[in-house]
Symmetry: C2
């Protein structure tokens, strides 16, 4: 029996903490698949296919696969390239040249779109190429799937970070603003809500891009919490905007920082902290108000050592099941999605959804899961959704701090 | 036998991940000390003593002590108050009022100074008060002690963060600048060096406040790495400055200790990223250069779930040994310090050093441990110093990525 063709796998877009679980899931299953040929890796995704930079997993050390799987960020290296039809045609030519009959591409909705174009071109030209997309994104904004591999681990990081900042803010007071990743979808910022363990724990306010942002309402919200508790912790999505997507950081402020992008810049946090400082100085004059902002930045998406075991296991399964679906052959292409099974304990299984249902489109945080105030999430809805994806969180202990009776100082 | 007096413990300054290990170490040892009276906690440090807000550890749930110990950030809440003689006199009066004969204060060198003043006043007025300082600081800049409780855990966080950013940068290229805490001392920024596991791993450049910073040299350093590797990861201390402490960023906010606010703002990172962007656009025109900066901010000092077990155990021991020293009675006051014992495997023991040797002074990162280039640390010196303090780090796995031979694309 001749082999049914070679296998090509690549990774695309921003990294996650578990993207290599999916890669190793694909590779191990492909190496074990009946009659499989070579299992090739595209170095830097489709850029490597264009440039002819591919590796062969037969050259790799299988004893290291488990460590690679546990290491965050694309082990095959990544790319941010939105291919046009010409590029996709060249990729297809390369597949023909190398007798690649199975193509697996791990990434977000742009990656699904690339996979979709290549699949369609192959079909149109009569070349038998099975094309499967494996989802990954910390943003959790892919359609159809219950949730995305990569989200649980990023959410875990954000929760632990908010636990840290809540404990810090609790001990020293003041206002702390944390900017969380998520350009269009608030899933990751919303996760911060699960940092709350005890009464009065922050984040006390949560702002998502799905709710139009008002700077005046924001500073009034912060003032109200600050007056009540003497402190306030706020989680803000980097993607917040006013009505009709009006930017919060105006061009003057952009110029002074020399930056326009949302991540990798402290501009939004500095603007919000400045607004709170000015507001508190006006409405509560006479005392100093400690206001700080931090922008969590890139570490939240691939921090080693803060990985959800559930997320890791599911990411691995998605890779395995992509190979199984390709080998089953009843669908020439598709994206692997997760379904939450009914029952008292959490369990998820995979299924195949057409690439067109995932490509390009995004899934926002549900409006019904945000409070009418627009500054929090509905815990009854969101907590049961997110908690099973995280693994066990660190336990947080407080003292009671019940003051004893003491006579006042003698004058 | 009447009790020898009551015990008062407080926490001061910025939090660490293990500051409650020390607290619980003090409390458990004091509760078990022969003939001890009440064990009281100062809520918000000396501010609580002044305000009469103290708790009694007899009211606390001992079954929760272990969880409190494992929780980052001052469980007794903290304070940033630099007391004058009048305030110290009022604190001493309160100790008299409550028959406090043992005072333990957990904090940095400002806290040691406060402890020192109170101790001296007690002695001058003939009031028998044993005053012991327990060190904590993520900055690792206290004198006498080999290292500070709190540093190992913060270093572990910074290392894992740089591992994350190195993996991210490796997969997508470009220049990534990370701003690390440390106002005057580069210990925490230097820790980033231990994120390097494989050849070409970042951080490729490390800038400490102990070496005068030059923006021109900096952009040239980055350019050289970027030309060589196509990418560059940089760790920069928030405290860098030009000759004669010239500021890199002109935005000053002074706290009650006379320190400029460096954390809680993305300004320094934005300035450095902007300079690199302009430089690369000038010297390597014609292609887009991806330059990003993140300021790690407050989460690095008390992230739950990223705690060094060595640091936690030593912090606990420091608390216990402070009580032992106070009860031993051969010294009326002191600061607990760590000594690294000679021998093939790491071991540290505590000893008592006079408060005056710790108060106010700081220990910079040794000049001999920075490279002549001024942009890295000497690993032969620093690695054996830091590594035993961290616990086991996450394992990082790379693929070989050896490209296979492929014929060029057909035209």
């Amino acid at each position: 029996m001749t082999h049914p063709g070679n296998v090509l796998v690549g990774q695309s877009g921003g990294p996650t903490a578990v993207i290599n679980q999916t890669l190793i899931g694909v590779v191990e299953a492909a190496l074990a698949a009946p009659g499989a040929g070579r299992v090739l890796g595209a170095i830097n995704g489709i850029q490597g296919i264009l440039d002819g930079r591919l590796c062969d997993f037969a050259d790799e050390d299988r004893d290291r696969f488990e460590v690679v799987a546990q290491t965050p960020s694309s082990a095959l290296l990544s790319v941010r390239l939105k291919p046009d039809d010409d590029i996709c045609r060249r990729i297809l030519d390369r597949c023909r040249q190398l007798d690649v009959r199975y193509f697996f591409y791990i990434g977000g909705n742009d990656t699904a779109e690339t996979t979709h174009i290549i699949s369609r071109m192959a079909e149109e030209s009569g070349y038998d190429l099975r094309c499967f997309h494996c989802p990954k994104t910390i943003d959790n904004d892919l359609c159809v799937t219950d949730h995305c591999p990569g989200y649980g681990s990023a959410a875990r990081w954000v929760i632990q970070a908010l636990m840290a900042d809540n404990l810090d803010n609790r001990s020293l007071g003041g206002v702390k603003i944390d900017i969380v990743m998520g350009r269009d979808a608030g899933w990751l910022t919303a996760a911060s809500a699960l940092a709350r363990v005890h009464a009065d724990d922050g984040p006390h306010l949560i702002y998502l891009p799905e709710v139009d942002f008002s700077l005046e309402r924001f500073v009034a919200d912060v003032e109200a919490v600050y007056r009540r508790l003497g402190r306030c912790v706020v989680a803000v999505s980097e993607g917040i905007h006013g009505p009709e997507r009006a930017a919060i950081v105006d061009s003057a402020e952009i110029d002074s920082h020399g930056n326009r992008q949302l991540s990798g810049s402290g501009a939004l946090g500095d603007v919000l902290a400045g607004a709170v400082k000015r507001h508190l100085a006006a409405v509560m004059p006479g005392s100093a108000h400690r206001v700080r902002a931090d922008t969590f930045g890139y570490v939240q998406r691939c921090f080693p050592g803060v990985i959800s075991p559930v997320d890791a296991a599911e990411a691995r399964q998605v890779g395995r099941d992509a190979v199984a679906a390709a080998w089953a052959g009843d669908q020439p292409s598709g994206s692997i999605a997760l379904r939450r099974e009914p029952g008292p304990s959490y369990q998820a299984t995979t299924f195949v959804t057409p690439l067109a249902t995932v490509a390009k489109v995004t899934k926002p945080f549900p409006t019904a899961w945000t409070t009418p105030s627009g500054n929090d999430v509905v815990m009854e809805q969101f907590d049961p959704y997110l908690r099973p994806l995280l693994g066990a969180l660190p336990e947080i202990g407080h003292l009671r701090l019940r003051p004893i009776d003491i006579a006042p100082e003698s004058a």
